[in-house]
């Protein structure tokens, strides 16, 4: 059973953003099942186990789906939005940066880094070739 501390203090969303501000991309793992999850949750999805702990993500991932949101140049231009399957198992929405948005391909191997999108801390990915 969880200790009282499990439900005290900042919740998972706040903690995730606090880690990001330190430059760390953290995901959660259930102590009992060993399975990882993202986005940050209160209980392990599906089992309800109240035993999630933070672990640093390997940052390794593969592009599962991708799109280019078309936008006029004066509004900031086109940008990539994709879904990345993390090596640990969970999937997340993200952006591959450093290459043209349309050059992001499904199956592409990518590596995470913590960066800024606008003024917000965010995980983004770069192609590894």
């Amino acid at each position: 059973m969880p200790t009282d501390d499990y439900f005290s203090g900042p919740g998972p969303e706040r903690q995730f953003h606090d880690f990001l501000a330190e430059g760390k991309f953290m995901i959660q793992r259930s102590k009992s099942s060993g399975n990882y999850n993202f986005y940050p949750r209160t209980l392990e999805p599906g089992t309800g186990a109240a035993d999630l702990e933070w672990v640093e993500a390997s940052g390794d991932g593969v592009v599962y789906a991708t799109t280019v949101n078309r936008q006029r140049p004066e509004k900031g231009g086109d940008y990539n939005i994709c879904l990345i399957d993390l090596a640990e198992g969970p999937r997340m929405m993200c952006r591959v940066v450093g290459i043209e948005p349309a050059d992001v391909k499904i199956g592409m191997k990518v590596k995470a880094k913590v960066d800024k999108i606008g003024d917000q801390d965010a995980v983004v990915f770069e192609s590894v070739n």
């Binding site: 789906a65 799109t67 994709c82 929405m93």
Partner: protein
């Protein structure tokens, strides 16, 4: 043994109002106009309505706003919102409330003036952990699903366009449809790219429009002026809210809701005389045809080509022209059901499917999130 809800409730009246552009009329006024039309169609006075079901992007508690505007005090009402499929869920809920004796006359209604009020309206909260990446939902999410489907099954750009062209061919037969001009595969494939691979013409319309249906128990339904169209089966399933939570972007929860609805109805996919699917984007039609069992996974891209789902084709799909060409006032599910019921009634004019007795009406909500399959049939199918 037959399911206890099978055929026990029926639609006895229906109407649409303000489809297309309804200048100067607000969402509730349109919804109430549709309710008035549906009650007149059923020849049931407003005073007998004791069940109210509604969902809206304009009213947080649409069932309460509607009942107040109508000046009635329902014994049971439900304003739950699971997106565009809310209305099939409401029909299931109404059937349960009718069968349980909680109510005697249910109205299910929707209304929206989004087109003349400034464009697409949503009350969805920004999706946590996605918003920073700038998704423009719903299209970004549907584009991601389309990208995966194309990658996994080799679907081509022109195959997607076939869905929109077939819908347009149906719309040409429907005086109520908003877009009725000629449309080619090249027109769709070459229209402005919005979110790769989806172009502007892969996307549903942004129109005004309202609809309403009246449901009663079967014993009362047979005494009305219209052929009652019975709810033979209805089932729902959802497995995510955000697209990043969808387990497999090529398989929707329809693969679960569909078989349960067929089981309740005691009929299978081949028994459906018309198939009405919530086509918010061209990919929807392909995925739902697969998930409902009309073809194998990955073969939907071929199934929608060659006029197979167009007028005169093997399977009549979205005979009103769909959300792509008929009407899409933000939440389209009620119009999917109305077209299915109209076909079973036999009142569809030039687009009527000869001897149609059973229609499937499938609703989709959110970003391929909530799926509700309903099956409606004439009295002789019960």
């Amino acid at each position: 043994m037959a399911h206890p809800l099978r055929g026990k409730a029926a639609c006895v009246g229906l109407a649409t109002a303000g489809c297309g552009e309804a200048h100067g009329r607000n969402a509730m006024e349109l919804m109430v106009e549709a309710v008035h039309g549906a009650l007149a169609d059923a020849q049931i006075p407003l005073s007998e309505v004791d069940g109210v079901f509604a969902a809206s992007a304009f009213y947080a508690m649409a069932n309460m706003s509607l009942a107040e505007h109508l000046g009635i005090q329902p014994k049971y009402s439900n304003g739950s919102n699971i997106g565009g499929s809310s209305f099939m869920m409401h029909a299931l809920d109404a059937a349960m409330a009718l069968e349980a004796g909680l109510i005697n006359v249910a109205v299910i209604a929707y209304g929206s003036n989004q087109r003349t009020a400034g464009g697409f309206k949503s009350i969805s909260e920004p999706p946590p952990f996605e918003t920073v990446y700038g998704p423009r939902n719903p299209i970004t999410s549907y584009a991601l699903a389309t990208s995966r489907y194309m990658h996994q099954y080799g679907c081509t750009r022109d195959q997607l366009s076939s869905v929109a062209v077939s819908a347009r061919e149906w719309a040409k037969l429907n005086p109520e449809a908003f877009s009725r001009g000629d449309l080619t595969i090249d027109d769709v494939s070459n229209s402005r790219m919005i979110s790769d691979p989806l172009t502007k013409l892969d996307c549903c319309l942004v129109t005004d429009g309202a609809g309403a249906i009246i449901m009663t128990r079967a014993d009362r339904a047979k005494d009305g002026p219209n052929t009652p169209i019975h709810m033979l089966g209805c089932a729902m399933e959802h497995h995510h809210r955000m697209i990043s939570g969808m387990p497999d972007l090529t398989v929707t929860a329809t693969a679960k809701s569909g078989p349960r609805a067929f089981e309740m109805a005691g009929y299978g996919p081949k028994d459906m005389d018309t198939v009405q699917l919530y086509d918010a984007f061209t990919i929807n039609t392909i995925l739902f045809l697969e998930d409902l069992g009309y073809c194998k996974k990955g073969e939907g891209k071929d199934f929608v080509t060659g006029g197979r789902i167009a007028p005169g084709g093997e399977l009549p799909v979205n005979t009103n022209g769909g959300g792509l060409s008929c009407v899409h006032p933000g939440m389209y599910g009620l119009f999917v059901m109305i077209e299915g019921i109209r076909q079973a009634r036999g009142t569809c004019g030039d687009r009527q499917i000869k001897d149609a007795k059973i229609s499937l009406a499938h609703g989709n909500g959110g970003v391929l999130s909530s799926q509700v399959t309903s099956i409606w049939g004439r009295p002789e199918t019960v």
